[in-house]
């Protein structure tokens, strides 16, 4: 790495080298049985240079061939964007624990046992259900060095456990599922099993939804599948800079209901999306995005922040290319209403657990529309059964402007979101 930086410094004014390597083991169950065991080793090194004021970039898996990497970066720098940022100097980083050494000692036997427990719990409850399950452990090492003398490195452990079940009757298909992740290894699967069994219980009976506007409760999974993709785009500093974010010029304004607060937070210890610094070596920070309904901040990397005349929020993220602003983990602050309170408040409405295809419409404008893959009907304050062939359509900015209640029971979804259920007074529902 030092060699690559030294070679790059000869060819350019400034440079940073980012390496990420990982070792992952995954156990997979198919059709209720153990089927695959996989090990994946990977390493990549990315070089960013600033040459004659322009940014060049190259990436390789081949650590030994530094000169080829530098040559490629130099070629691309002829056309690259003008660099407006300065690489960070040596900084002190917040101490955010994301590595649990216990992960090393988790055996394949143990991972298999977790999967078997989980599948047994679900198949005992609902005979005939076909499950896929996966248990993953991984260790990721990140190191960043740059020509300003900045350097950072950390190691992260990630453990994940998930299940998806399919129950088919005639041509009717029911999909249930849950997953969980942490930097700590998990020793039991009971929590996930319980959530899946609850889904199966609630989905036992069928109910029908009318074609009209109805109140809707989004469960944490439902919030993730329907409401989050538009918000991720809208708070991205790059979209704001381009004028493409509908809330870009609304800092300080009440765009959302006053009960809604959202932050981006990579500093929660032992969470898979936490880290001491971002992929450019900028120290991690917690960034408020919505404060009691008002737009507070946006997310920036170094270059976008420089163009917008602000500071990086430590959200530079690399997905195989140059860093770009990206959320670390969204956290919606819990409110005071329990899910039971919300349900008993409803005369007629829906609970949405999974909305399929919601991220495909005009996300930038906040529109979402999707098929209710897993959802329940509420009548007179009681859940009466599962709805199907039902489509829900809305706009995030309308839906979140007036929230009936923010739930008290928050939960992590997919590692990138912690949210309570949200109760929205009215959404358009189409059904057949």
């Amino acid at each position: 790495m030092e060699n690559i930086l030294a070679q790059a410094k000869k060819a350019a004014e400034a440079a940073d080298v980012f390496t990420i390597s990982s070792e992952e083991t995954q156990v997979q169950f198919e059709s209720n049985r153990l089927k695959h065991i996989q090990s994946k080793q990977s390493n990549t090194v990315a070089l960013r240079i600033i040459k004659q004021g322009r940014i060049g970039f190259a990436l390789t898996t081949e650590l030994r061939d530094g000169q080829c990497l530098v040559d490629n970066a130099v070629e691309t720098a002829q056309f690259g964007m003008s660099a407006k940022f300065v690489l960070p100097i040596l900084a002190s980083y917040p101490r955010i624990e994301v590595f649990d050494p216990d992960i090393e000692s988790v055996s394949i036997e143990k991972m298999v046992r977790l999967g078997e427990e989980l599948i047994t719990a679900v198949t005992d409850h609902t005979p005939g259900i076909i499950c896929e399950a996966w248990i993953t452990k991984a260790v990721v090492s990140v190191r960043i060095i740059n020509s300003s003398g900045g350097q950072a490195n950390y190691r992260k452990s990630v453990f994940g456990l998930g299940i998806e079940g399919t129950l088919i009757r005639d041509t009717d298909m029911l999909f249930v599922g849950e997953s969980e992740s942490s930097c700590h290894p998990m020793s039991e699967s009971g929590g996930i099993a319980e959530l899946v069994l609850k889904q199966l219980e609630l989905a036992k009976d069928r109910a029908s939804a009318p074609c009209q506007s109805l109140p809707v409760i989004f469960t944490p999974n439902g919030v993730a599948s329907a409401l989050i993709p538009p918000l991720m785009a809208a708070f991205n500093g790059k979209m704001v800079l381009e004028g493409a974010s509908p809330i870009g010029n609304k800092i300080g304004q009440m765009v959302f209901d006053k009960t809604l607060s959202l932050r981006d937070d990579p500093t929660v210890v032992y969470r898979p999306h936490s880290r001491p610094c971002d992929d450019e070596g900028v120290p991690s920070q917690c960034t408020p995005l919505i404060e009691e309904g008002a737009v507070a901040h946006f997310l920036y990397d170094l270059q976008t922040a420089a163009l917008a005349d602000t500071n990086s929020s430590g959200n530079g993220s690399r997905g195989g290319g140059l860093p770009t602003p990206s959320p670390s983990a969204f956290i919606i602050a819990p409110g005071s209403a329990s899910l039971d309170d919300m349900v008993s408040d409803m005369k007629e409405g829906l609970i949405i657990e999974q909305l399929m295809g919601a991220g495909q419409g005009n996300i930038l404008g906040g529109d979402f529309s999707g098929n209710v893959l897993l959802g329940y009907k509420v009548e007179s304050g009681k859940i009466v059964g599962r709805v199907k062939d039902t489509m829900v359509t809305g706009n995030v900015y309308q839906v979140l402007k007036e929230i009936a209640a923010v739930g008290s029971e928050d939960k992590w979804v997919g590692g990138f979101l912690s949210t309570p259920p949200l109760y929205c007074p009215s959404l358009s529902v189409a059904s057949k």
């Binding site: 996989q38 399929m356 359509t393």
Partner: protein, 460 residues
């Protein structure tokens, strides 16, 4: 780069032959170069080059699979052993694999010009012209252009004695125009792809202009009223429909160990009208889903999935074919050496019928004409897909434009509800398919215009 991968391939091939503790072993090696240029707004935002070398070993023992992927090519015998040990731990039944002939073949790329080696300056000039077209359109807020090309050499070797080298090129281009009137934001896009022919990316100025115009027009378009309509799909969207709504259901890994799915997908069952024919084939030259061999070293085939409305076939890996006692189809594919091959589509389409577009819309009193696509998703039984462009059909004629609509439905009833198939088959090369965390796999899909009765449209 380092030692050439052919030498490593031959070495691996020797190790595998000795791997006597497994029912089957295969290995993949891959060497790739890619370049990309991305615009966001007026400025070129990022441009880069990537190179990669990697590989994997997959072993089958008593029906269980072990898989080891790596960038580090050292200690290959240990990696083979690890894959065998893992497979042994997972296995608990008899292994079943459809027979494969031992093949030795070297397959050159379809195109002799490597798009990766075209100077970046030349590519940039073409993209600059397109970006300029978008930007000179009034009320355009910003643009997004992503261009990427790649050259990949892959080696497959197996304990059945096969050794196959394949080389392929790929180009993809996605253009998005974003318009705003101060309060509303709308976008329109276009995706293109080719097997290495850069000429395909040139001279599409009129298409780019259309995209920009469409984004602006959407600003004043009303949202559809949600409900059931007779819907006419253009070839692009109908191609997405056949891929999402039916194609995924034909992938046997969803079916082979699921008795109820097997009942639903019994061969001979009627799914649609006598004019409905659905095909998947990797044998058509020039299409992005085509290849001579799949990632299990099986030769590509043309497979009828539906013929005259009846289910007649499905897509297989060697394992699913053996377990269902059907013929293998060569549909095991992986996006890269980091993943094991799984059952995937290649080029999937509805064959041309006889109706003209005018005939199709002529007797629709109130319906929706949906074109282009944002994306699509399926859960086997249910599908949703998002159209990039839509119009009302009123009294047999195209009427006012609509905001992009989301269509959803039940696969089984929707296929039955196709009541007209156009005579204008067209393939879309811009697609990338995602499944099992493997995305985007180059595929193409296509169809003529089709008409669907009673399709659910999301809206107000």
């Amino acid at each position: 780069m380092t030692d050439n991968i052919e030498a490593t391939g031959r070495y691996l091939s020797e190790i595998i032959k000795k791997g006597c503790n497994a029912d089957y072993i295969e290995a993949h090696l891959e060497e790739s170069q890619t370049s990309y240029i991305a615009y966001r707004g007026r400025e070129l935002e990022s441009v880069g080059r990537r190179t990669a070398i990697g590989g994997n070993v997959r072993a089958l023992v008593k029906g269980g699979w072990g898989f080891v992927s790596f960038n580090n090519l050292d200690e290959l015998p240990n990696k083979v052993e690890l894959a065998i040990n893992q497979a042994g731990y997972a296995g608990n039944e008899a292994s079943q694999l459809a027979p494969a002939e031992s093949v030795f073949d070297i397959v050159p790329a379809e195109s002799s010009d490597n798009p990766v080696s075209i100077p970046l300056a030349e590519k940039k000039q073409v993209l600059d012209e397109y970006n300029e077209i978008i930007w000179r359109t009034p009320r355009i807020q910003t643009s997004i252009i992503n261009y990427g090309d790649g050259h990949k050499k892959s080696i497959f070797t197996s304990s059945s004695g096969s050794y196959i080298e394949q080389e392929r090129m790929d180009i993809s281009l996605r253009l998005v125009a974003i318009a705003t009137d101060g309060t509303e934001v709308q976008q329109a896009g276009e995706s293109l792809g080719s097997r290495g022919d850069f000429g395909f990316m040139q001279g599409i100025h009129h298409k780019v202009e259309e995209v920009a115009q469409r984004a602006v027009e959407l600003l004043s378009a009303p949202q559809a009223k949600g409900g059931e309509y007779t819907v006419v799909l253009d070839p692009v969207l109908a191609g997405v429909f056949v891929h999402e709504a039916f194609g995924h259901l034909s992938e046997s890994d969803f079916v082979y160990e699921n008795d109820r799915m097997r009942e639903i997908m019994t061969l001979g069952k009627v799914f649609g009208g006598p004019e409905l024919n659905i095909v998947d084939t990797a044998t058509t030259p020039g299409l992005r889903g085509s290849s001579k061999y799949d990632d299990e070293g099986m030769p590509a085939t043309k497979t009828y999935l539906i013929r005259e409305g009846k289910l007649v076939g499905r897509l297989h890996s060697r394992e699913t074919a053996a377990k269902m006692k059907e013929n293998p189809t060569g549909n095991a594919r992986a996006i890269s050496y980091r993943y094991p091959p799984i059952v995937r589509m290649t080029n999937t389409y509805i064959e041309a019928g006889s109706a003209s577009f005018e005939e199709m819309i002529g007797d629709i009193k109130e319906g929706v004409y949906a074109r282009k696509w944002y994306g699509g998703m399926t859960s086997m039984e249910m599908f949703t897909f998002a159209a990039g462009e839509a119009y009302m059909i009123r009294n047999g004629k195209l009427a006012e434009p609509l905001r992009p609509v989301m269509l959803t439905g039940n696969v089984f009833t929707t296929l039955e509800n196709i009541d007209a198939i156009g005579d204008d088959l067209d393939m879309n090369q811009g697609g990338g398919c995602g499944k099992g965390g493997q995305m985007p796999l180059p595929v193409s899909n296509g169809s003529p215009h089709i008409r669907i009765r009673r399709c659910l449209v999301g809206g107000k």
